[in-house]
């Protein structure tokens, strides 16, 4: 049996180096911004997968696991211990017996089981179902064939047994707010959506739709001495220019920066020190449909990678706010291979490959794109002349981001440009290219390669983590060679943080998702 014990105190390691030496100050207000839209979707976090909503949810709710930014992996949060059976499929979780909901009731195993069963309600299509589905019997609940997840058993009030369908680290499946644990009694009431109750370090006070969510310290939070701040306000600010003024005016404590602001902040002596950045687990790429004849040939796909001066685009157009992609897995992935080098800019080589593939005069294709400034139309516009130089003509088809998601999933494209989550679990990220993965799931390019499948299958079987990493690195290298996509970049998430806000964690899964209990404001904060 393998035993994993949560090192709760270890979470503090996620704090940036400068904060570690100082004693956190109690009190004050943290003013975070939610930059991805004009509102929050819902106060029922089970119903929304938007990054925007998880910003407040990290303060209000808790899941079985939490992302530890310092260690770059999920760690136990609502459980103190996970005992794994010999065959690796059954996990016995010893839950915390000191976690209280914001109505004062202690969390028990019933709440965990109720929450996971709720998420699997097939008539509601909760987005977290794709994670809970890893528990045996969960799919049957979703299909209406069972009322309760058979693979989830209550041993006692603070112990649950979870049987999984495959040998995976459940941490990757149960750390996001989509699988937050709700109070079984309260969450069933209609009023819950207006006044949510969670297990997080801050309790709900107020929601002004389209403006803000206000939360205040939950004194019975299970981590001694935390949270530090009295209050957290999450302000909806979708406009980057408005955030810039508000940040400079000291009205907000955090602001997500776009490429133009990234350059401006670095050039400003007063603001340079406020910038924090992390390689997020998102890969930007141009996907090529192998059903479109020219893209069925590996040499054509490689030629596209050689034909594009990717570094030039990253430096000039994206203003350096991205890391060059060397394959599919991003820099912060545990299976990232530092030895890998990106495709060189070599138009001559591209022409040669095209000629070998039977396209000496090039060909024409339709490129579907959104307007996104970092991985949309501006990038496509810059790439088109580069492809033109080797004889490839690209026609632009512009759609909304929501439409692009449908296009990608339906396979109704010749090529598309996209940003896809490629972590934090490298195994799940690469499994998208396994031939058994349906195209609408995430095998958007309908990639099929027997050697690749074998590597992924083997990685799923081995118990040795180092061996698994090695296999995944091989699979990642194979993807580089097969080039089902133009490997563009890995997102560099950049946030400006006021000097008085301490404890910011470099969260590679999403920089705006902060474990708020570890944040604190010093006495220079204007929001006392």
């Amino acid at each position: 049996m393998l035993r994993t014990v949560a090192i709760v105190a270890g979470l503090g390691l996620a704090l940036v180096a400068t904060a570690q030496a100082e004693t956190p100050r109690k009190g004050g207000t943290i003013r975070m911004t939610a930059p991805y839209g004009s509102s929050f979707t819902s106060l029922d976090i089970h119903t929304t997968q938007r990054a925007q909503d998880e910003i407040y949810a990290k303060a209000l709710h808790r899941s079985l696991y939490i992302w530890n930014s310092a260690e770059g992996k999920p760690v136990l949060e609502l459980a103190k211990e996970d005992v794994i059976s010999d065959e690796g499929l059954v996990h016995t979780f010893k839950l915390r017996d000191d976690a209280y909901f914001h109505n004062g009731r202690k969390m028990t195993a019933d709440d965990v089981i109720w929450s996971y069963n709720r998420i699997m309600d097939g008539t509601k299509a909760y987005p977290g179902a794709r994670y809970v589905r890893v528990i045996e019997g969960a799919a049957a609940v979703e299909k209406g064939q069972a009322k309760e997840i058979s693979g989830l058993k209550k041993i006692d009030d603070f112990t649950i047994e979870m049987k999984l369908t495959e040998k995976v680290d459940p941490g990757f499946y149960f750390f996001t707010a989509l699988t937050s644990i709700y109070p079984a009694d309260e969450a069933a009431k209609d009023s819950f959506i207006q006044k949510p109750i969670g297990l997080g370090p801050f309790k709900f006070v107020e929601h002004v739709p389209g403006s803000r969510i206000v939360l205040e310290r939950w004194d019975r939070f299970y981590k001694p001495g935390k949270p530090y701040a009295d209050k957290v306000i999450v302000l909806v600010m979708g406009e980057a220019a408005a955030r810039d003024v508000a940040f400079r005016n000291k009205e907000i404590d955090t602001s997500v920066l776009g490429p133009a602001q990234y350059v401006a902040y670095q050039a400003d002596a007063n603001l340079k020190g406020t910038v924090v950045e992390v390689a997020e687990v998102f890969t930007r790429y141009m996907g090529m449909n192998t059903a479109f004849k020219p893209f069925a040939d590996k040499r054509v796909r490689q030629a596209i990678n050689y034909a594009i001066d990717t570094d030039l685009i990253i430096n000039k157009l994206v203003k350096g706010k991205a890391y060059r992609a060397t394959s599919w897995l991003p820099l912060t992935s545990p299976a990232y291979d530092k030895a890998m080098k990106p495709y060189a800019y070599d138009p001559a080589k591209a022409k040669q490959l095209l000629a070998e593939a039977g396209y000496p005069q090039g060909f024409e294709f339709e490129w579907t794109t959104s307007q996104n400034e970092s991985w949309g139309l501006p990038i496509v516009s810059a790439v088109i002349p580069m492809l033109d130089k080797v004889g490839i003509k690209a026609k632009v088809k512009q759609v909304e981001t929501a439409v692009l998601a449908e296009v990608v999933r339906s396979g109704d494209y010749q090529a598309f440009i996209y940003s896809q989550a490629t972590g934090p679990d490298p195994q799940a990220a690469l499994k998208c290219f396994h031939s058994s993965t349906p195209q609408p799931a995430c095998n958007y390019m309908k990639f099929s390669n027997a050697e690749f499948d074998k590597l992924i299958d083997e990685a799923g079987q081995v118990d040795d983590a180092a061996k698994r990493t090695q296999l995944l690195q091989k699979a990642n290298a194979l993807l580089y060679e097969e080039a089902p996509v133009w490997f563009f970049n890995y997102n560099k998430a950049v946030m400006a943080v006021q000097p008085w806000l301490r404890g910011i964690q470099l969260n590679a899964t999403e920089l705006t998702h902060q474990s708020v209990e570890d944040l604190w404001v010093d006495e220079t904060s204007p929001a006392k």
Binding site: S39, T41, K143, R212, M237, A242, A402, A405, R409
Partner: protein, 307 residues
């Protein structure tokens, strides 16, 4: 008067139905759906179940009929995104939007109308030239840019006002978004007023009044202003409708929690009930304001009868 009001209210029914139908048809033909924005789940069965649960698998005419039936009982449906009643969502957002629009309208009328009057009294003079420079600039400036400039000046440089947000809904939070929204109608009112006053100043009844020996102040006050008000009021009524549309940009820029930002997010996520509800409220508000303006015509000019 009563029969006029009843007739006008009845006339709104086909307008509302046409708007509802238009939105319905539009959202059934544009690509993208709520299902793809809510979940990127791999299981096609999930998508099918979700469509069934949301009623999206029914034919358009069935959905339209069901919606109209609900609407007749005052039920705007349930949001696909938040799973809240749309009426509740709109109720939370309508007041900030009305606050913003009335404040912008007050600013534009209080500044624009006198500016137009003053300009018209001495056409071609320095005041007229300056007033029209202000008016043309006001009409030309993009709201987004103007808002940023105001934020920069009054929040960042002078520190007089907050740069964004709703706060407690107090005046200091309202000033910048209201001025940003109000500059364009202010300019329009100035130009309209100037043109109306100049035209009325040369009308026969004004000449008659002057020839009777009436002082210029009385001529302007009793004849020119009163007659110009009918034209100005028509422009004000139309601008209310325009402001409800323009408020979307301002609300988004200033993080103002109005119906505009609700509409933007709902459109982007294909939350059809919320889009329909928001548009319907905007249309109803526009119709109500115009009805009020029609009633006011009779108060200002008793010659206008509600036949």
């Amino acid at each position: 008067m009563l029969s006029f009001l009843i007739r006008r209210l009845l006339q709104t029914i086909p307008t509302v139905l046409a708007v509802v139908l238009l939105v319905f048809v539009l959202f059934s033909v544009v690509p993208g759906s709520i299902v793809s924005s809510m979940s990127d789940d791999s299981d096609p069965q999930v998508e099918l179940r979700m469509k069934k649960q949301l009623g999206l698998d029914d034919p358009l005419y069935v959905r339209f009929g069901a919606y109209i039936a609900k609407l007749a009982t005052g039920d705007f449906g349930t949001s696909f995104r938040t799973r809240e009643p749309v009426t509740a969502m709109i109720a939370k957002r309508i007041w900030p939007t009305l606050q913003l629009i009335f404040a912008a309208m007050a600013f534009s009328v209080v500044i624009g109308v006198p500016l137009g009057f003053i300009a018209a009294l001495k056409p071609g003079g320095i005041v007229d030239t300056l007033a029209m420079i202000v008016a043309v600039s006001g009409l030309s400036i993009a709201k987004f840019w103007l808002g940023l400039v105001l934020m920069y000046l009054f929040a960042l440089k002078l520190g007089w006002l907050p740069s964004f947000g709703y706060g407690d809904g107090g005046l200091k939070y309202l000033v910048l978004p209201a001025v940003t929204l109000g500059v364009s109608p202010m300019a329009l009112f100035a130009r309209t007023t100037r043109a109306a006053v100049l035209e009325i100043m040369t009308a026969d009844f004004v000449r008659t009044a002057r020839s009777k020996g009436m002082s210029e102040t009385r001529v302007v006050k009793w004849h020119v202003m009163r007659n110009a008000l009918v034209i100005i009021l028509t422009t004000v009524g139309l601008q209310f409708g325009a402001l409800m549309g323009q408020a979307v940009v301002v609300e988004k820029l200033f993080s103002w929690p109005g119906i505009g930002s609700l509409l933007v997010d709902s459109v982007l996520q294909r939350d059809i009930p919320a889009v329909q509800g928001s548009i319907l409220v905007v249309v109803l508000a526009f119709l109500a304001i115009n009805l009020l303006i029609d009633v006011l015509y009779g108060v200002i000019d008793p010659r206008i009868r509600y036949a």
